[in-house]
Symmetry: D4
Subunit: 175 residues, 8 copies
């Protein structure tokens, strides 16, 4: 007997399926914290009705946070934020040109009243969008706070491990 899948709490939206290799890290980070998510390819400019419908129904469907990733004139996060009062997290994606400055500015410079919580360009942003979403979900689920504290310790452990590697390299130089 198959168990019913838990209802997604985070919607991960991307402008094109070519963004998947980047946004996979978002989904996997959420999964690692036990946060169910759904993914959608929605274009603010090519499927505006979908964008509106998705954002407008998001809260009703049980979503608590929306993550939106887009490049170039990255309107996706802003367009979703226009149709919902859920927190919308924007991941600017760097294309080949202008090194992502266009996507960053188009995502972050929202007018007063309609915020987009913008995270870093590229892979760091993909992970951080998930972590930020989890920090938001932790408002109601204290178990996530415990996991976030554990995650912080793991980050620290990784840095310490990196430090050990560098000590080995130093010994090669200083003998």
């Amino acid at each position: 007997m198959k168990l019913r899948k838990p209802r997604p709490e985070v919607g991960v939206v991307m402008g094109s399926d070519s963004d998947w290799p980047l946004m996979e890290a978002t989904v996997k980070t959420l999964a690692r914290f036990g946060v169910p998510s759904e993914s959608r390819v929605i274009s603010a400019h090519r499927t505006p009705h979908l964008a509106r419908a998705y954002a407008a129904s998001a809260a009703r469907r049980g979503l608590r946070v929306i993550i939106a990733a887009a490049g170039g004139a990255a309107h996706l996060a802003g367009v979703l934020a226009a149709h919902t009062v859920l927190p919308v997290i924007g991941v600017p994606i760097e294309g080949g040109r202008l090194k992502g400055l266009d996507a960053l500015l188009a995502t972050v410079q929202m007018p007063a009243g309609v915020p987009v919580a913008t995270v870093a360009l590229g892979p760091a942003g993909a992970v951080n969008a998930a972590i930020l979403a989890i920090q938001i979900l932790a408002q109601r689920r204290s178990a996530l706070t415990v996991k976030l504290q554990q995650y912080k310790r793991e980050l620290e452990a990784k840095v310490r491990k990196g430090n050990a590697q560098v000590q080995l390299q130093m010994r090669k130089i200083h003998g």
Copy 2:
């Protein structure tokens, strides 16, 4: 007896009424060429339904070109372009910060399939949006082509007049 006003052919949309002092030049330039226009304050993020409704009904209502002016994460032109196949002209507006680079990039860097015809930042862009709209309308109304040619001659005359001014200044230096 009052004559019926001609049906607007160009819709001039701006994100805030604080953009009016800039966009007034667009309306006046259109008026000078005898092109009837309408103006609307519509925010892509604060009144997304209005934005969609405006663009979706624009062609039906007889509009032939849409001009959209916005600053910051300037999504307005792109959002309108998503809902119409009319040509959409974008005027990036420089706010106090980043000197308008954000608005320029957010307007021009549209994805393949959904163009925004972007003109210069600021006052030059406000005038040029009107001229570009007139060049587009001239496709069906050759009288506008004649007026555009006349306008080009006036621009030239203005440059020649400026040149005369400089000759006066030169004489002060060279005696």
Copy 3:
């Protein structure tokens, strides 16, 4: 008899008291939604112990979101985020130089694992930090969701009012 003040849920931290005129909008927006907040001047570089102590004790003291505003090499939000698993919202402040690009990049480009939810430069960002904080608090308090929906309608009303102003201007031109 004086009532006890409600415990602050949002901590609004700024690098200098000269940031107050900007961040006052954050506090007032929170107050308008009935969200109790506290404000602190804490410098990441001049009072690092304070920064650490503030962030480390924030959750324990009942804070649920931290908003941090800073300019230049804007490390404040990142430093606070390093010491807490609460969501940290960063407001980049533009100084006289580089038009705030330095503050924006120093706030948003956080490494994987330690996000800062970055909002727009300047006044829009000050308001949006509050709105984003309220969206986050609304996770546990559905009354805030209702207020946010009401706020969205007010934003829309403001745009419509601006539109009415522009119609008056248009009549002056088109007669």
Copy 4:
């Protein structure tokens, strides 16, 4: 018996034949909509007479829109616009340096009176120049409007197909 080729309505001008691989998409998009075009390599700086002659005779020869692609100090679109009242669409091309910011600014920042309808840098811009030209031609040929609406639906279908791909990937993660 050979049929006479239809007279080109769009002139696609590029600064160098090395731009062809990019601009081929412009020509092919036009062809797909049944819009006859011609292509020319013309340099604003190396063949200025050609540039002038081309623009000055364009309307007379039946062209209705000019598309100009150039990189670096991208003067081509502006120089053509100086000699015609036809709409001129500018495609900024990114070279290896400055990531195309030079070409973008040199194309879009035209003075009042002489607009260049600027589209995005790179491949998206090459396609969008064609779509914008078609939107302009559709002013007189309503069949193109129908095709543009069909094209919008195809863009949407492509996004939905991308979405299906991502759902497959999601299933691999969530099981």
Copy 5:
């Protein structure tokens, strides 16, 4: 009896008479070195025929160097360089937006074969265009070399005078 004015050797061209206050320094610096010049307001986009005619006839009329000042999509210097083999010096003018970065890039990033000798933005560039022109004219007139060496000594004297001022200020601090 009036003496015939010497034939101009340097042509100072500007895109608008509003550039005169800046370019006056160019003319005055040339005059100070005894180099006869002429000034013209010519717009690459509004008076393209004038631009071509001016550049094409420049050498024939005895000019030896052309200085061209323009802002925004600053094509003027490049357009003149396309029509002459005389050295063309470009002075990028900063407008209110983008702080002159547009004018600088549009002036300097010329394609191989058609150089524009670009000098600094703003007042320093206006003076330096004159000095560079004089350095070029000094190729045939060694008297100018002597004057340039004298000018270098005057620059030095001015720095030494500034130094004296600072010593006075220092004494106020150190007593």
Copy 6:
């Protein structure tokens, strides 16, 4: 009877006496720590011999650190660093154009082997150049270390005082 002035340990060099109002803060900060300094106006481009002579003789004359402030193509710090093995601190000065980005990049991007210790643009940089110089001098004079620790406490006190101001403002809002 007048006491002999102490021999300067820090040389504060600026490209123009117009930089004095900014660099006065450097001299005053040094004076406040009891560090004797001298100031010079030296231009890398107008008085290159002076620049060389100053740097080449600096160590011999007892200087231990050189601070150099310049704007635009800010070569001064680099040129001095080329002629001495003393630490050279560069203060980039923002002119009216490009917001100091030119000065910052021209100061900091030195080639391997010839460092310039670059501090922030503008007033913060002027103070920090002094503090950095004092940190360097503290290598041999531990009394300066004690003063630097005291200075850090004063910075902290100033932040706490700013915090008190903000608490007053908060009370006005929250009653």
Copy 7:
């Protein structure tokens, strides 16, 4: 019998062990001048306690200079500088995005009172951080001054050798 290793005078801190290939040049340059150093991987955001502890104890443990390398929102150098009065040298590291502009601005734009001595992006900066540290240490150890002068001569010799290579190439062209 094993000799005791000399106590490190320079601490080389990097945000991740992936920075080692770059920062190895710092350690090797220090070693070449006989300056003992230690290396640590410490993240301002992932191991903030470590960062504080390292900086706070640095002087006590005998360190005289700290070098900190980080990319993105490069807070590491600033965070260390907040906890010590030792000179802190910042090496901005360019990641794949924004070409290191983020790291440069986040490192250099420190507030008044807490300087970071910033060197160039990338490999040149890694070497120059070491040279600058040695220039600082030379304040108390004149033997290092002699070595720095010798190093300057070697740099010169390398340039002369490069010149000889170019002469060979020239002969191939000019015969």
Copy 8:
């Protein structure tokens, strides 16, 4: 019997022999016009004495123009210009970081009185430095003017040839 080599008229100076592959185009273009040149590797920061000596003696040794290529904090052209009244042409070289913006700004933003004639970044600039030098030399040698006019025709021919290539491609599309 070997003929004496003609005395170089143009000095091509580069900061490192790694710039040779780029600057070879400068030397070859000069050679193609029959202009004798010499090349030197001189670093403004590593061999400042050489830089000064080279510039100070250049005119005396018969040079008429100096071309200087450098990257990063590109001071070379400015340092040479400080020591000569010959025209100095600057070629900014893009390194791996900041895409050459640093070199461009450090070369072009010279203070009033000491111009550097700046050409484009990269390969186009390397060729254009030579063409500009030839335009300057043509002041005294009219044979060069004839050659420059011939070169302009060749540039045009190359564009026409490129055009022919594109016509072939067009035929593949349009049949």
